[in-house]
């Protein structure tokens, strides 16, 4: 193809080799030749509207935009000719006549493209004596501050919404000089990627609301890091001032997050400064929490654990959060084993452990490759909310024509075309069995199953595609028949020659699995709670929010003799049930590593000073190990631990073997079935305390119970009613919302939100009462 042909062009007298058809601005960028621009952005479509990038091309009488010009062999380009300089000066003057030039009070100051380009290409006197344009503001929500008078109409934000976020929320209304960028009516941006417009906006029109007037760009120190929420492991820049985290920006990495960041990854840093941060070791004495010195608290923890271990080591259970670092998890495991117990687990939201425990739950392929698949079957995944940037990759694939199909217990609002098969939780198993049957896989479950055209179509699609992928998401992993779903997925994958994988839930789920934070022959996360232990070691776990069955978790932990919680936050459940709380440093305050969904090890350093007396988790556990007289705890840095782990476990995870579908179907209920999803802004301890994210409509709406109109009608309930959700012994009062996305026979009841701590398994039978 001619596109591939190498050609030569000349820019400012310098010959440049390039591919035919490339954009001139990309060619000059690569060659380090500076062409100013505002509307052009590599990741967005071409607008060619700001007219800042005009260049002179031989034989073309007028200056033309480099951002919209494809190079041709022999093209002779000038970027500094009198014609170009005049054009740049003209555009710069036009851009500034109506700009408020309020740089001293603008948050963009110091990192403003307009400011920078004006320095280089503008003029220092203004000839504009007319009244400047002033644009009225609309509030667009708690995350993004607007000052539209500063807007230069580059439309990057509008194109982002349309092309990347897949939600057209912003637009340019009005005409000519009256054209205004915004939402037209007051309307919160709802995209889970909305914060990216802050980076895209070249001026101070769209800035971070949580960061508003907090610091100037030049006062900030930048540290690279890894986002601690989903399993993408987005690369971030943590900006600190005097040791305090001030904001988070994306750090570009084309293989992982490209240049994007989900709002959760961008704004959750606010949770670092939560009032619930634990800043001092605490010991419960006679039911009262009392401050203690580190020595005292660690001694108490060590002697308590030793005591239990000395009688029956199996009475010790360790639960680790999959958002903890590899190093922390590794030391927690070492301590547990050192004490003689093999009860350790990170799979806190899993209920069904009948399957293959040793399988590493990872994607089975690279994140980038997801955008090149031509077909996907997602099982139990609210992909857009759980893994915003994986959803973005799938969206890209879908835009290129890939067929995305989903089997879920609720209908999703997706930003790409997809075929969605929605049913109650038990129906998911049936649907998957039917697809397996249609695909030609056989199994005892597939025998008496009714296979519809829809099932056949899904199977056909997977078979037809060259690169199909089957992925199990959060909702599958919390499903009471996860084992069966896995087995059926493996069956379908085999029959259709699709690849199969798991979308790991948290930032370090894969890491925890890789280094073996699972019981060898001990108790798993569920049985450790079902069969209460005498002593628990909790690493970053909030029992009422982080577990599949918080009621069970709370009762098990309350009845224990000793609960040592290494935690960044003092949560209600811990205050209720723990014996010792050891303050662990929080987001940005520690070094460590995560292994992301594609099995990539990513290490980061501490960026901020630990709050109060808190200490990095690995240091706390190291001292605890020493106090327990265990061997192998003489690390002097987290890097040492990492290197040791890398040597032992550093190979890429093996392709997941999901095991066979065995056991009985457990998800069928006779009454109403709970769909217990963990909402995007309730996923972990940090984001739950990020105040601005909690103010979003997304977070506020996620505290309600949801049923479809017919379930509501049957129960005599209407939208806005206050209801009690009754699950076993548990009872939670919530507002009811009517939502056609929820299937018949089901109630969507969020997990991990305030009020849900008294409820049971994320899936299971429940009833509704009007209150």
């Amino acid at each position: 193809m001619s596109e591939e042909k190498t050609i030569t062009i000349e820019v400012d007298g310098q010959p440049l080799e390039t591919k035919a058809g490339a954009l001139l601005i990309d060619v000059t960028d690569a060659a380090g030749i500076d062409i100013p621009r505002f509307c052009y952005h590599k990741k967005l479509s071409i607008a060619a509207s700001c007219r800042m990038c005009l260049v002179e091309v031989a034989k073309v009488p007028k200056p033309i935009p480099a951002c919209a010009t494809q190079v041709m062999d022999g093209m002779v380009v000038q970027t500094r000719s009198p014609m170009v300089l005049a054009a740049q000066k003209a555009t710069m003057e036009f851009l500034l006549i109506n700009h408020p030039l309020d740089c001293p009070v603008c948050d963009q100051g110091g990192e403003c493209e307009l400011q920078d380009v004006a320095m280089g290409y503008g003029s220092d006197v203004t000839r504009f004596i007319e009244t400047k344009r002033v644009v009225p503001e609309n509030d667009i929500g708690p995350l993004i501050a607007t000052d539209m008078t500063r807007c230069i109409h580059c439309t990057r934000c509008v194109r982002f919404g349309d092309e990347v976020a897949g939600m057209r929320e912003m637009g340019a209304t009005g005409r000519g000089e009256h054209m205004t960028i915004g939402t037209y009516v007051a309307h919160n941006l709802n995209s889970e990627l909305s914060g990216n417009v802050i980076d895209l906006c070249p001026v101070g029109a769209l800035t971070s609301k949580p960061f508003q007037y907090r610091a100037r760009a030049w006062e900030l120190t930048r540290h690279t890091g890894v986002a601690p929420h989903d399993s993408v492991g987005s690369n971030i820049q943590i900006h600190t001032r005097r040791g305090e985290v001030m904001r988070v920006h994306p750090h570009s990495n084309d293989a992982i997050n490209e240049i994007w960041l989900s709002d959760r990854d961008r704004f959750s840093y606010e949770g670092v400064k939560s009032e619930e941060r634990l800043t001092q070791p605490l010991i419960k004495k006679d039911g009262e929490w009392t401050e203690a010195s580190w020595e005292e608290a660690l001694e108490a923890a060590a002697s308590g654990l030793k005591k239990i271990a000395s009688t029956d080591a199996d009475q010790i259970g360790t639960l680790v959060s999959p958002t903890a670092t590899l190093e922390e998890i590794a030391l927690a495991r070492k301590i547990t084993e050192g004490l003689g117990s093999s009860n350790i687990d990170y799979r806190l939201r899993q209920e069904d452990f009948r399957g293959n425990s040793s399988a590493v739950p990872w994607l089975g392929q690279s994140i980038g490759s997801l955008e090149n698949i031509d077909s996907a079957l997602l099982i139990g995944s609210n992909i857009r909310k759980d893994q915003p940037l994986l959803a973005h990759r799938l969206r890209k694939a879908a835009l290129k024509g890939a067929k995305i199909q989903l089997i879920n217990p609720l209908h999703l609002d997706l930003h790409f075309d997809a075929a969605q098969m929605v049913s109650d939780p038990a129906g998911m198993v049936h649907n998957l069995a039917a697809i397996a049957e249609a695909a030609g896989g056989s199994h005892h479950l597939t025998e008496q199953i009714e296979v519809t055209d829809e099932h056949k179509a899904i199977a056909e699609e997977l078979k037809r595609s060259e690169s199909a992928v089957i992925l199990l998401g959060n909702l599958a992993q919390s499903h009471p028949d996860y084992t069966i779903l896995c087995g059926l997925a493996a069956l379908i994958a085999k029959a259709t020659e699709a690849s199969v994988g798991v979308i790991p839930m948290a930032a370090n789920s894969v890491g925890a699995a890789v280094i073996g934070a699972i019981p060898d022959h001990g108790l798993n996360a569920h049985s450790m709670l079902e069969n209460p232990r005498k002593g628990y070691l909790l690493l970053g776990v909030e029992p009422g929010r982080d577990t599949n069955n918080p009621a069970l978790a709370r009762s098990a932990i309350s009845s224990a003799e000793l609960v040592v919680a290494v935690t960044a936050y003092r949560s209600l459940c811990l205050e209720e049930a723990a014996s010792i709380m050891l303050p662990m440093s929080g987001f940005g305050e520690t070094s460590g590593s995560f292994v992301n969904a594609e099995g990539r090890w990513q290490h980061f350093s501490g960026a901020a000073a630990p709050l109060g007396e808190s200490r990095p988790g690995w240091k706390i556990l190291r001292v605890l190990g020493n106090l327990l007289d265990l061997d192998g705890f003489d690390y002097s840095s987290s890097e040492e631990i990492r290197d040791e782990l890398r040597d032992a476990h550093g190979a890429e995870p093996k392709v997941t073997s999901l095991g066979a579908a065995k056991g009985k179907i457990r998800s069928a209920v006779t009454g109403l079935a709970r769909i217990g999803e963990t909402p995007i802004y309730a996923a972990d301890a940090l984001v739950r305390r990020a105040t601005s994210l909690q103010k979003t409509a997304e977070a506020r709406e996620a505290t309600a119970a949801r049923v479809n109109p017919s379930v509501a009608a049957d129960a005599g309930l209407s939208d806005g009613d206050k209801v009690a959700v009754v699950q076993g012994e548990g009872r939670a009062e919530m507002v009811l919302r009517i939502d056609p996305h929820i299937p018949d026979g089901c109630v969507w009841v969020p997990a991990a939100v305030p009020g849900s701590e008294s409820l049971g398994d994320q899936f299971g039978e429940l009833s509704l009462e009007k209150v």
């Binding site: 057209r168 929320e169 912003m170 637009g171």
Partner: protein, 168 residues
């Protein structure tokens, strides 16, 4: 989720309006129903006393399965869509060059005096509103104005009086 999103397409507008919009949609290739946005806004505006509200625009968006902002953009770009109440008779007076040099000023002044309103205003009885428009492509009949769908050309204050008398 707004109430609109859950609303059935067939609960929007009257059957007549839906039929009219559907007729417009049919003019365009399948999957290009956005093309009918302008016509849909016009039809809905006509049925709504000559102007659009946010609710009406949202309904058009829902009917055509478009994000509301796409409709706001269109409805605020074209000058024939109104976002404030207008009179039963919207007098659109051209003041562009050919009309201007043929004394459109005098026509405007006469209307200002007779109706007691300026451009952008509505008479108290709601019978008339006044709008300044750009060249309407009838310069040979300057000065001219458009009322509803009809052009009135070669205006003089006297002719204007008799035209206004005729308009309900």
């Amino acid at each position: 989720m707004s109430a609109l999103e859950t609303k059935n397409r067939n609960e929007l507008f009257t059957p007549e309006i839906r039929a009219e919009i559907d007729h417009e949609i049919a003019k365009y290739p399948e999957a290009e129903s956005q093309s009918a946005a302008m016509a849909a806004l016009r039809i809905v505006q006509d049925a709504n006393g000559g102007w659009l509200t946010q609710e009406r625009m949202d309904e058009v968006a829902a009917y055509l399965d478009l994000p509301p902002i796409a409709i706001y953009e269109v409805a605020t770009f074209y000058s024939m869509y109104e976002h404030k109440p207008v009179g039963r008779n919207k007098l659109c007076v051209c003041t562009n060059i050919s009309c201007m040099i043929n004394n459109s000023d005098q026509i405007v002044e006469h209307l200002n005096n007779r109706l007691g309103i300026k451009f952008g205003e509505v008479t108290e009885d709601g019978r008339f509103s006044l709008k300044e428009v750009e060249c309407l492509g009838a310069c040979g009949g300057a000065p001219m104005m458009q009322v509803g769908r009809k052009y009135y050309e070669n205006l003089t204050p006297e002719r204007l009086d008799s035209i206004l008398d005729e308009l309900e």
